[in-house]
């Protein structure tokens, strides 16, 4: 069972502002879903390696060569606020 503080903590970690109503609904829904998944704890996984990926899992190496990237002006077209050649953001410090 998740507490409302658990949900608040994860919402802060994942940077999503939640209303009080959303918080209550999510606390209930996430508790039910996680409760359902308790069955996993019954499986013996002693000494079993975790699988992170379905393919062979080899790290792919490539030569470190410079190559053209996307044009800056094309990329900045999608920025909510920009000041060529930069993305503009609200204050990070002193606020």
């Amino acid at each position: 069972m998740l507490t409302s503080d658990d949900v608040r903590r994860v919402a802060r970690l994942t940077r999503i502002a939640l209303s009080d109503t959303e918080l209550t609904v999510l606390q209930d829904q996430l508790s039910k879903v996680l409760g359902h998944f308790q069955s996993l704890q019954m499986i013996d996984t002693e000494g079993t390696e975790p699988t992170g990926h379905a393919s062979e899992g080899r790290t792919v190496m490539r030569d470190d060569l410079s190559a053209p990237s996307l044009a800056r002006s094309d990329v900045l077209k999608n920025a909510p606020e920009s000041d060529e050649p930069m993305v503009r953001v609200r204050p990070v410090l002193g606020s």
């Binding site: 939640l18 879903v33 996993l40 499986i43 975790p50 999608n78 606020e81 953001v89 204050p91 606020s95």
Partner: protein, 489 residues
């Protein structure tokens, strides 16, 4: 209407007519565009329709064909692309308000391949937000409806690409499948849909949901078209580090030859308690057909099947919480006008831009990955994933393929599962294990129940893509389910 008079023509049949000069790409494209304008107020399969560029591409294809320089089996064929696949210069939303006005500056690998093959992109198809859902009711732009009954869902998350092909708005389409998002809507809309072996198709340009599970794949009206499209989009791409380095295969060339002596396993755990009687009957009849074609059909057991749902709904949200961290309101996508600080920009842009299912999954994943819970949830799920993979590997020592129903039910009513996330998650019990193990799976029309399509799923071992296509083709040629069409006009 196309030359053959068939509003549901396949790509391979259209090609024959186009080569004979009896059908042009322009006719076929106009036909799809007119279906779109006639049906969209009811179906809502598309988020963006590309009428003028599609007609230009079709005219270019016709010119190539006239000059004897046609590019191959997809040249001139109208296709719909799920809107989480990037298209340069064309809005790509992933079904989310947070990407409402996002225009990618590049094409996904699969889109580059389609353009090079001469395919005509008619539009960007609707989906559950960030491909999270099993009914297409989570699209921020409104749900897609099932062409067989507009009061029912088309399945999800690729509901738009499935409905478009089922209703004749496109000849083929591309979707993405993380836990069943191609196969389940294919089943519910009565068409063919395939999730290839993980790594067979590059994910470059696919807006990521759960990177270790996501795979792009085809929708089509028959298995031949499915093989044609898979052949066009598969192959190594260095821009996706999980893209497999294998020689390209000819899937179309290996469809024929039959399935005499093929060993088919039927894992009893997939015939779950909630399976509808009509789905069970259709499935049992499909097994008889496979037997009559010479396959050796035998029951087997995969005891960890019912743990797959828990593994999936821990791993996929965990990966999603990391992948979706990029939507911060700074570089692209929605930015909250009310934000006063950089932190506000993140908190509020995400609160305003994401829908409730996406928030639910990000929080679930954030919780599973957070200090103190990581070992109990995330690591445990990864370990059980290893056991599930082994269980499949053991089964494929004895069997060439496994067959199951694709979905325990036919298309359900809109709104019937939206209040209870867990009941929605259970829609994918038959498809999720395949993604967890990285295997290929195909769903094809395998019967009808109460006037609605039932899907048959064929699962193969890793790299068994050609094999499951052949089994699907053999079944299809022996039945007529793939010729059934919805009556929507």
């Amino acid at each position: 209407m196309p030359g053959a008079g068939d509003i549901f023509i396949t790509a391979h049949a259209a090609r024959v007519l186009m080569d004979r000069g009896e059908l042009s790409s322009t006719d076929l494209t106009k036909h799809c565009l007119s279906r779109i304008s006639a049906l969209e107020d009811r179906l809502h399969s598309f988020l963006t329709v590309l009428e003028s560029s599609a007609l230009q591409d079709a005219a270019a294809s016709d010119a190539r064909r006239r000059s004897g320089t046609a590019l191959g089996p997809l040249d001139g064929i109208p296709i719909a692309i799920k809107d989480n696949i990037s298209t340069a210069g064309v809005r790509t939303t992933a079904g989310s308000k947070i990407l409402d006005s996002y225009v990618p500056p590049f094409d996904a690998h699969v889109v580059e391949r389609l353009r090079a093959s001469g395919a005509v992109i008619v539009g960007k198809a609707n989906l559950d937000e960030f491909a999270m859902g099993s009914s297409n009711e989570n699209s921020a732009f409104g749900p897609v409806r099932n062409p067989w009954d507009v009061n029912r869902v088309p399945g999800g998350s690729s509901g738009g690409p499935a409905a478009a092909v089922s209703a004749g708005e496109a000849v083929v389409s591309l979707g993405s499948d993380t836990g069943g998002s191609i196969r389940q809507p294919a089943a519910l809309c009565g068409i063919v849909g395939m999730k290839p072996t993980y790594g067979l198709v590059s994910r470059y340009g696919l807006i990521a949901f759960a990177s270790s599970l996501d795979q792009i794949g085809p929708f089509a009206r028959d298995v031949t078209d499915c093989a044609i499209l898979l052949e066009a989009i598969s192959g190594h791409d260095p821009r996706d580090s999980t893209s497999l380095q294998r020689p390209r295969e000819t899937f179309v060339g290996s469809l024929r030859g039959g399935i005499k002596g093929v060993r088919v396993g039927v894992p009893r755990e997939y015939l779950v308690d909630g399976i509808e009687p009509g789905v069970r009957r259709a499935f049992e009849s499909a097994l008889q057909t496979l037997t009559s074609l010479g396959a050796a059909v035998e029951e087997c057991s995969l005891p960890l099947t019912d743990q797959a749902l828990a593994v999936y709904y821990i791993l996929a949200p965990s990966e999603a919480s990391a992948n979706l961290a990029r939507f911060d309101g700074f570089k692209y996508g929605h930015s909250s006008p009310g934000a006063r600080t950089a932190w506000d920009t993140m908190d509020l842009s995400r609160a305003e831009g994401f829908g409730s299912e996406v928030k639910r999954r990000i929080l679930l994943g954030g919780y599973a990955l957070s200090a103190g819970y990581y070992d109990a949830y995330y690591k445990k799920a990864q370990q059980v994933r290893t056991l599930i993979r082994r269980e499949f590997a053991d089964a494929f020592e004895r069997f060439d393929a496994l067959v199951t129903p694709t979905s325990p039910t036919v298309a359900f009513k809109l709104g019937s599962r939206t209040q209870d996330p867990l009941s929605m998650y259970l829609s994918d019990v038959c498809t999720i294990p395949v993604n967890i193990a990285g295997l290929p799976g195909i769903s094809l029309p395998g019967g009808m129940s109460d006037g609605l399509p039932v899907g048959l799923q064929v699962i193969g071992p890793q790299f068994g893509d050609a094999r499951i296509l052949r089994i699907a083709y053999s079944y299809e040629q022996a039945t007529e389910w793939h010729l059934k069409r919805p009556e929507i006009n």
